[in-house]
Amino acid sequence: MGDTHESQLLVRLLTQHHQALFRYVHALLGNAEDANDVLQETSVALFSKLDQFDQSRPFLPWAYRFAYLEVLKWREKNANRPSTLDPDVVELLARSREVGDDLLQRRSRVLPDCFRLLPEKDLVVIRTRYFDRSPVDDIAVKLKMSRRTLFREFERIRRVLMDCIESKLASEEI
């Protein structure tokens, strides 16, 4: 491959679907850093096989297959690292994501609205950790809480966002 038109097409598709692919890989690997690495490998694989992509069909299901294979390769390459999810569970999760992709994408679309409803203090803690990338220990010291309590705060925020997403989707269905 290497055709300019096809390269542009891939850039456009990856830009459009980057976050969906990131979510897919992130869920199967369990952490963002590894997910970013695997996403890069997936992009390379997609680039090399783009000529096989049928443009009359949706991009994401096709791209997910490559992402899944890259996840498996990454796991094989890092077999000495303790993995969180068993191989059969990864396969089940991937299948579940592919079947439930529409709903997952709908959930993701309403998340920004929910995010905006978070209290300022929650937004700042999230930003400090994930945007400014301040170390967890520093944040915990500043907030005068233990690491464990800080982790529980993030668990609480995720739960609030989940509740909000579910409320919004339910109201869409009424």
Partner: protein, 561 residues
Amino acid sequence: MEDQTRRLIESLVADLIEGQLSDERREQLNFLLRDSEACRSLFNSLMDVQADMTQLAGHSQEPLAAILPASGNSGKTLIAPNADRRRPDLRGSVRSRNSSLLPWFIAAASFAALLIVLVVVQNSPTSTEVAGPAERQKNQDIPSSPVVSSDVRLAQASGAEYFNDGPVSAGQEFALQREYVLTSGKIMIAFPSGAEAVLEGPSVFKVMKADRLFVTLGHCSVHAPEGAEGFQVDTPKSHVIDLGTRFSVNVSEVGVTDVHVIEGAAKVLANVSTKGTVGQLLTNGQARRFETDRDEAGEAIPFDRSSYVGDLPDRVLSYRVGGDSPVAGDLASLRVQRDGKPIEYRVEDLIGIRVISFVGVPGTINIATLTTGNRSVRELLENDKSLATGLINPGGSAIPLNQDPILTGDSTTPGMGIQFVRPVINGPGPDLVLFELQKNVEAATGDGFHVCPLKFEAGLRSFTVKQFDLSTKSGDVLPTEVFNLLRFDTGKPLLDSLLSDPGQIRQSPLAHYALPVGIDLSDLGDAEGQAVDGLFLQDDASEERQFDPVFIGGFPEMRGE
């Protein structure tokens, strides 16, 4: 999905995200994900929230210093902010009744299976080889019988549910050597010596003797006051012997035992002790983990004071009705825990309400009433003490309000506005009680509802109650007396039409129970000492069932406490 399973997955995913997942919990996560599509779907949703949250992080513009000290009064309203509740363990997840029964069944079955597997693991041959106390051997040989009474009783329960049966009312006795599986909530067990143990679900335990508890799985906090020294908590790996203290014991799925001593001292002996060993002495502020049943020294772990739970959450503890009737007629008194202390209020002490707006759900029954006699409907609804009369099925919304409700005119907001006859002062714990009618064929924990201020001043917000303090299973609630139901065919039911129209009288053939819940004004953003004139209530329309308020009363101000 059952709340219990949902919370477990949320907690496992949190540990996964933070890189804190232990081997045992990793196994647990794999087990759940392997077992149920509902669990996989929840896992994927949670991971997606995390993935998107990190990407959206740049949306917040304030530096961290700007929120210190954090007041939390941002003036923004959170949707379903139940996680901020004083008892997140009870209300921290959405209970959706729109979902089909199948995923619920699968989730429930998974959890039950998990517990059973765990119990089997604990009773494996490896365990029976150990030279533990005779009681332990007996415990393993006789899984759930004989049922022998003890003098060990339930002191308190909060949201407690068992996989099998178990005591749910204060004063009920635990059978000796019978295995109890507490699937959710918290219980406090009182031992004859004065020792108290708080167990948090999910836990599997047995009362072995009047001064000995066997915890197979879960979290237990013990307070053994003077005179109760020697109280013992056994686990699959260790024996924790009190030396006059407060301590917590956490037992993992594979029996690994963490002991945190909050006050005083405790001695820990391995299940298979070397002859002559004196055990590991732990004192105030020390914590150790005991991995195996031969682990005599244990390994130091970070001490966590918060691992000790001394009190159950502030809440409505019980209520009494007038007369000797076995059904709930007029409320006579109420016991409430505020700031950790039980307080009894007579119904005369409570601050009454006046209904100032009402828009019901069209096509539903909107009044539950006894025979009216010569009294007006308004009088019956507002001034009576009956737990069987009220304006039921108020309208609602899936999303709580974040702006002032409209109380008059054609655009009146669905729901019910109430004004207290005198202001309720926000104090520690719950500040008012709300009772609802619930059929025993409906959700045992009651129907969810939103509560918000009449005016959204700075810092105020809505709050969603997901669960009542006493459930139809709690044993402390009473069936109500038979009442009439009035249906109105007036389109959108409004307060004026309900009060003037006779309506069509129906009677419900089903038994109803009166469930109470305490509402803490702090959950609405009110500051301590703030006077509150009224509130607005809405059904949580994200649930299938509407809630049916029948009695609301504010608590008198707490003075000098």
